[in-house]
Symmetry: C2
Subunit: 195 residues, 2 copies
């Protein structure tokens, strides 16, 4: 499979896991390589050997996070229901891993500043999700003849993503007060004209 020996791959994996937690708690700038390495039971120079520098480690963490919830096989036909439930499932899974959610909240907020190492990566992440959502919204509006939303499919998609991100931040700040997955699911199904 990938490069390196099995030992090395395992170490890399445990470093990424520790880094995800740490970045989530203290942000990219507030986390030290040494603290990550310590948590992973490894010297910090070992970490640098595997990832080269701090930024590369951050990007590896994001990549790993995104790979977590990827669908393994696609259905024959992409339906609005499939997409909606896919995203809702992601929201539900997120609720099980608050550390990762915290990570992406902090990174997304930090990346609002120009010059952040993960800015471009996170922009593309948003764009990908937004374009899928906007496409489904557009198809659904045509199919169902909906015209009561004053927002364009693109704007509506952006608002949903914003709400999703915002709800996750709200939940971290006020744990257990909201049912985030349910609220995300409802926002999606409303926008898609389901039910």
């Amino acid at each position: 499979m990938p490069d390196g020996y099995t030992t090395g791959r395992a170490t890399k994996q445990s470093i990424v896991a520790s880094a995800a937690t740490a970045f989530g708690e203290k942000g990219f700038y507030g986390t030290s390589l040494r603290s990550i390495a310590r948590e992973a039971g490894v010297d910090h120079s070992t970490l640098l050997h595997h990832f080269g520098n701090k930024t590369a480690l951050l990007l590896a963490v994001i990549e790993w996070h995104d790979a977590q919830g990827m669908p393994t096989d696609l259905p024959a036909e992409i339906t609005a229901d499939y997409v909606a439930e896919g995203f809702a499932g992601q929201a539900a899974r997120n609720a099980e891993t608050p550390g990762l959610v915290q990570l992406l909240s902090v990174l997304t907020a930090e990346a609002g500043a120009e010059g952040h190492p993960a800015r471009e990566t996170l922009q593309k992440r948003h764009d990908l999700v937004a374009s899928v959502m906007a496409w489904v919204i557009r198809v659904q509006r045509e199919k169902l003849g909906l015209d009561d939303d004053p927002l364009s499919p693109e704007d509506r998609a952006a608002v949903i993503i914003a709400t999703w991100d915002g709800l996750q931040m709200y939940d971290a700040l006020h744990p257990g007060r909201l049912d985030v997955p349910a609220l995300v699911r409802r926002a999606l199904r409303d926008a898609f004209g389901l039910e």
Copy 2:
């Protein structure tokens, strides 16, 4: 008025302003007192003389930020329209000061982790806004006999705040793509049953 000499107060003010920008760009953990002091044209020990420690400076920044958009006088009667336009005005003003918005986005995200020095402060901030919104929503629902929203006034208020926060993050990451104040205004007026 407040304590100290006029010179000192002015210095304090310029430190707070520099800190707001810096915290917004690098977060609380990623910002150094020395960089703030340098930007304010002051030695970093002067900064510590005025604020004591880094956390106290952060809280001073948040306090100052909130004082910025406070209404100077209240109308005789609090109407839903007044509240809606008040919040919408804040959203519009925020669009003029992207640095401060960036600051609060990063802090809110960071404060999702336990142990963050501004966690409690930001929780109370949210609670205050949420309770005002929920109250208006409840009053409006009774007055207008609305019952088509499956969410409780508290949940609806939380969703609006989340959307607001999320839209500001989205805007920082994709500058100029959305009209944030207009979207916030619409979300508020929808929830309040206005128009």
